[in-house]
Symmetry: C2
Subunit: 587 residues, 2 copies
C-alpha cells in the first residue's frame, strides 16, 4: 500500500495517528536543525517535518529532495506550532520516521505554482507539468463536475445518451471536414463529424424521443484565437416538440447547472427572449452581453441632414452609445478609442464623440457642423447626463456599422468594469433569418444549417422572397458568448428538398449528399428539434477563463499542433502504400 491518507485529508482530530502519505515535493525549507517539506497531491498539501536532532540521517535524506520528487513518507500526525489558517491541513504536520524516494525529478522548466513563470509554448510542451498547477487542475475538476451534472439532469428528464459514430461520411455544407482514408475501401474516405446533426435526427426518426450526447466534434478550419480543431458538444434532440418546449427544458438545465456546479442562482424568472433583429438593433450583435446596458441609440433623425457633416448626411446608419462618467476622458484616451474602431479587425471609418460638461453644455468633435440645439437634442436623445461621453459611429452599411459599434460598446463595458466574470446574464436570441447571402459563393447560405425549419408562417415566402424568411432557430447567449444554439428541424421530405433547392443544390446533388436523411423522412419522421452547447466554452465561462484551452487537458495550438506529442507528423511510406495514397506537395 502506497498511502493510508491523501495530502488533503488530515485535520487536528487526526493528531497522534500514524500515517503513510505519498506525493510530490512542492518545496523544502531548512530552518535551524529542522527541514520542512510541503508534500502535494491532487487533494492538497501537507507539511512534513524532519528533525536533525532526532534522526540526522533521515534529515540529510530530506535535504537532498528536489522540487517535484515523488516520495512516500511514514510518520505521526502532530499539531503544528505555527498554524496556517489558509490551508485545510494547516493545523497539522507529519513528524516523518521513514522516507522513500519513489521517483526523482529533473528541475521542472517552470514553477508549479498558480502563477507560473512558464510561457504558453513551454507550458503546452510540458503540459503534464502545467496540469500539476492547482488552478489548471481545478478547471478539469470543474469540467468533470459539469458533465456529471448535465448527465444527471438530462437522464432525469428521460434523455438517453446514445453514441454516434466518429467515422462518418463527408458532407459538403458547413466547414471543412477532416477526412480519414479507408484501407479496406481504397480511394474512399470517412469524415470526422462536424456535429452529429444528421445522426441525431435519424435517432428521432428511430423513435428515441429524447437524445443527448457529450461528444467530440471536428472542424478543419484555420484556427482563430480560441478555436480548436476538435471540440466537445453537449448535443441534444427531442421529438414532438415546439420551440417553447426546448427552450423551457434547457433553460431549466442551465439554471440547474449554474446552481449545482457554480453555486450561482439565476432566479426564477424565465430568460429574456430577444428577436435577432432586436439584438442587432439594440446591441449590434446576435450574442449581446447583457451584463450592462449602454444600448445603441439610433441618431439618424438627430444627426442626418441637420448639419453640414457630410459623413453623417451620406450615412445609412448613425448610432451612439453613452459612456457614463467618461466625459473626463483625455484626448489621448479618445484617440485610443478612435484607433481601436479604425483598426483592420473592426474597420470603422472614424469615431465621433461628444462630451456633456458639468453645466450641461455639449462639446463634440463635430461642433463646427452642428448648432448647439442639434447637439443638445443629441444629448437628450442619448439620455446623456453631465459628465457622460457620447460615442458615435456611422456607415453606409447599417449592419456593418452596428457590429463596429458593438465592439466599441464591449470595450467601454470592459473599461468601466461592467463585465464582471462573476456575474452572469443569460438570454435567448430567437427568430434568426433562415439564410444569409454569401458574396463569396454568390448564393444564399443557411445561417444555421440546412436542416433548420423555417417559421411555418414564412414557408410561402421560400419562393417569393427567401431572404426574408425567418427560421425556427434559437441561440442561448451568456455574457456575450453564444454557449448553445439549435432549431426546430424540418421533418418533411418535400420541405427539405425545397430548402436544398433554395440553397442551390440540384435534386441529384441533394439526393447524393443527403439522400439517407430525406429517405428516412419518408418513413414516419416525427416533428423534432434540438440544440447543442459548446462544452469547452460553457465550462470556460463557469471557470472565468479567457481561453477555452485551459479547460482542455491536451489542447492544440493555433497551427493545430499538439506540441507535447509532436502531432501531426510524417508517416511511413508503407502506411501510405497500404492506403493507396501518395503525397502531392504543391509545387
Amino acid at each position: 500500500m502506497y498511502r493510508t491518507k491523501t495530502c488533503g485529508q488530515l485535520r487536528i482530530s487526526d493528531v497522534g495517528q500514524q500515517v503513510i502519505l505519498a506525493g510530490w515535493v512542492q518545496r523544502t525549507r531548512k530552518m535551524g536543525g529542522m527541514t520542512f517539506v510541503d508534500l502535494r497531491d491532487r487533494y492538497g498539501i501537507t507539511q512534513l517535518v524532519f528533525n536533525e536532532e532526532s534522526d540526522k540521517a533521515l534529515c540529510d535524506e530530506a535535504n537532498k529532495l528536489g522540487r517535484e520528487f515523488v516520495i512516500q513518507v511514514e510518520g505521526a500526525v502532530n499539531e503544528r506550532y505555527n498554524k496556517n489558517p489558509k490551508m485545510p491541513t494547516g493545523d497539522i504536520e507529519i513528524i516523518v520516521s521513514r522516507l522513500t524516494v519513489l521517483n526523482a525529478s529533473l528541475t521542472p522548466p517552470f514553477t508549479i505554482e498558480e502563477n507560473s513563470d512558464g510561457g504558453d509554448e513551454l507550458r503546452m510542451k510540458y503540459r503534464y507539468l502545467d496540469l500539476r498547477r492547482s488552478n489548471v487542475r481545478a478547471n478539469l475538476e470543474l469540467r468533470h463536475k459539469f458533465c456529471l451534472a448535465v448527465r444527471h439532469f438530462l437522464d432525469s428528464k428521460g434523455f438517453l445518451e446514445i453514441e454516434t459514430p466518429v467515422l462518418v461520411g463527408s458532407t459538403p455544407e458547413g466547414a471543412r471536414d477532416f477526412i480519414v482514408p479507408s484501407r479496406m475501401n481504397p480511394g474512399q474516405f470517412y469524415a470526422l463529424p462536424q456535429s452529429p446533426q444528421t445522426l441525431k435526427q435519424l435517432l428521432m426518426v428511430a423513435g428515441m424521443d429524447r437524445y443527448f450526447q457529450i461528444v467530440k466534434c471536428f472542424r478543419d478550419e484555420d484556427l482563430r484565437a480560441d478555436r480548436q480543431p476538435e471540440f466537445t458538444q453537449i448535443d441534444c434532440e427531442m421529438s414532438f416538440v415546439e420551440q417553447d418546449d426546448i427552450i423551457c427544458t434547457f433553460e431549466e438545465m442551465t439554471k440547474y447547472l449554474f446552481k449545482e456546479v457554480r453555486g450561482y442562482d439565476l432566479g426564477d424568472e424565465p430568460f429574456l427572449r430577444m428577436p435577432w433583429i432586436e439584438a442587432m438593433t439594440r446591441f449590434g450583435s446576435d450574442k449581446p452581453d447583457m451584463r450592462f446596458g449602454m444600448e445603441f441609440v439610433e441618431l439618424m433623425d438627430v444627426l442626418k441632414g441637420t448639419g453640414e457633416f457630410a459623413v453623417f448626411n451620406d450615412a445609412a446608419y448613425i448610432g451612439g452609445i453613452c459612456a457614463k462618467g467618461c466625459a473626463v476622458y483625455t484626448r489621448k484616451q479618445i484617440d485610443e478609442l478612435t484607433n481601436f474602431v479604425k483598426s483592420p479587425q473592426i474597420g470603422a471609418k472614424g469615431l465621433v464623440y461628444a462630451r456633456v460638461a458639468e453645466d450641461g453644455s455639449v462639446k463634440s468633435s463635430v461642433d463646427k457642423f452642428y448648432t448647439p440645439e442639434v447637439l443638445s437634442n443629441l444629448a437628450k436623445k442619448m439620455q446623456a447626463e453631465a459628465g457622460d461621453l457620447i460615442l458615435i459611429i456611422s456607415g453606409d452599411d447599417a449592419m456593418r456599422a452596428r457590429k463596429q459599434l458593438c465592439e466599441l460598446r464591449l470595450l467601454m463595458g470592459e473599461r468601466l468594469g461592467l463585465r464582471d466574470k462573476n456575474k452572469f446574464a443569460l438570454l435567448w436570441v430567437v427568430d434568426f433569418p433562415m439564410f444569409e447571402w454569401s458574396d463569396e459563393e454568390q448564393r444564399l447560405m443557411a445561417m444555421h444549417h440546412p436542416f433548420t425549419a423555417p417559421k411555418p408562417c414564412d414557408v410561402p415566402k421560400l419562393d417569393s422572397d427567401p431572404a426574408s424568411v425567418l427560421a425556427d432557430a434559437y441561440d442561448m447567449v451568456c455574457n456575450g458568448v453564444e454557449v448553445g444554439g439549435g432549431s426546430i428541424r424540418i421533418h418533411d421530405a418535400v420541405l427539405q428538398a425545397k430548402i436544398f433547392e433554395v440553397l442551390g443544390f440540384t435534386p441529384e446533388k441533394a439526393q447524393e449528399q443527403f439522400g439517407f436523411l430525406m429517405n428516412a423522412f419518408k418513413y414516419g419522421a416525427p416533428p423534432h428539434g434540438g440544440l447543442a452547447y459548446g462544452l469547452d466554452r460553457f465550462v470556460s465561462l463557469f471557470a472565468g477563463l479567457d481561453s477555452i484551452r485551459d479547460c482542455i487537458a491536451f489542447p492544440k495550438n493555433n497551427s493545430g499542433r499538439d506540441v507535447m506529442l509532436d502531432a501531426p507528423s510524417a508517416v511511413d511510406q508503407a502506411q501510405l502504400d497500404e492506403l493507396q495514397l501518395a503525397l502531392a506537395p504543391k509545387a
Copy 2:
C-alpha cells in the same frame, strides 16, 4: 404542445381524463364498426378506438392510416372491456375525438416487431427503422444506464473523467492506426487513438491521481466477426497503487454494475484470481468460461507410451474433458465433433473419444491400441462415471492443443446447456507473460503493451531470459469473454528504455516514438496502473447479445462500411488538393 402524455403512461386511474398523445401507428384492426389503432412511442403502446357510429368521418380517416404513420390524437381515457394484462397500459384505451396525421410513412421494408423479418443487410441500411424495434431500443437504453452507473461509481471513488484528444500522433506498436491528413501541416498526419494509453499515463504524471473516460477508440484491422473499427472503452488509471488496489476497486465497480444495472447479485466473495498458466492448463484459455467445469485432465501419464497408438506416443500434450451423460452420443454426433475440431479455424488433427457404459466398461475409438486396464485408468483419471463421454485431443504443441480442446469444451458446454446467458461467472486472470514470440516479426512482442511493468522479482531476468518474465497484468473475464484488462505501468524512464530494447527498438527509434512519455517520466512520475473495459462487449453481456452490433446505434459492417450513410465514399479532387494528397491505386 404535441402531447400531454406518452404512450406508456396511462393507467386505470387516469380513466375519464382528456389527453393528447403522439406516436407511430403500430397496427390497425377493424372489428365491426370499430377501428382499433395501436399507437407506439419509446415509452409504450396505447390502444386507440374509433367508432363508426359516433363519428364516421373520423373513423374513415383512421382506416386510412398505414403502418408507421406519425399521428397525434386527442381523446378521453376509457376503461377497456377486454383488458390486456401483458401491457402496462392494457387496462385502458383512448376514445379518439381528434386525429391529425403529422407525417405519412411508406411501407417499411421489414416489420417493426421484436422478431423482424428483415435480414442483417436490410436492417442496417434502414437502421433508423430497425432501432424502432423495442428489443433493439432496449439495448441502447441499457447502455445509457450502464454508462451512468459507471460514472456514478467512479465519481464516488474520486475519479475524474478527463477527455483526451482524438487527433493524436501515430504509434507503431499495436494494431494499425487510422490516420488523418493535416491540411495545415501538409504531408503530416494525425492518428486516431487505439486507446488513450499514453495520454492517461501522462495524466498520472500530471498528478490527476484517478482518471477515467468513456471514450471512442479506433483500430484499422481486418474485421473479424464482432469487431468494429471504432469501439468504446471505459478507460481508467490510478496513481500510487499496486495490482491489488486496482483489482479491489474494479471488482467493487463490477459488483455495483451487476446489481444496479442488471439486478444480478455477484455475492460478497472476491472474484477468483487465476494465474495465466493455470488458466491455460485447466481450460486452455486466458479467458476461461467458469460457468461450468469440464476441466482439462492431462493424460500424458495414462496414455503416452502405455499402448501402440503412435499419435499419443509422439504427442507433447494429451488432454481430455468429460462430458457428463454424453455416452449416448451417436456416431453421427461424434463425427460432428470430430469435424468441428478438424475445421481450419480449430486445426486439430483428430478427436479420440471413450464412452463409459452403464456397467462401467469403457469403449473407445482407440480400443485396439490399449488394454482394458489403461482404458479403466483413463476413466478413473477423468473421474468419468457410467454414461459419460470422454473427449481427447493431443498435439505436438501443448499450447496449441490446449486451445483446440478449449474450443471443444466450449461447444460441449453450449450443447449441454451449461452456458446460461442469465448466469455470470467472473474471475481475474493474472501473472501473464510479459512477452510472446512473434514468428512473423521474428522478435518478442509485448503481450499487453510496452508500458506494462514486469513483476518486480522478474526484472533481473529481462537480460538473461526475457521470455520467462511475468507481467504485473490482469484481465477481468466474464463468461469466457475478456471484458477488461490492464496492468501496473512502468514509471521509471530507465526500465521503460530497457523494455523497448527487449522489444527490439533502437534507443533512437524509442525516443522518436515514445520520447514524450520517457521524458515525462523524468519529471516525477508516480507509480501507477489501470485498466480498460470494452464497453460494447460488457453491455452485450448484460443484454445477452450474440453480437456487439446490437448495442451500437450505428454499427459498421465487416468491410468497415456504414451502409446507411454509405460511408466511406470518394471525396472531391479539390479536397485532396487542399490536403496535398493523391490517390495511388495499386496496379
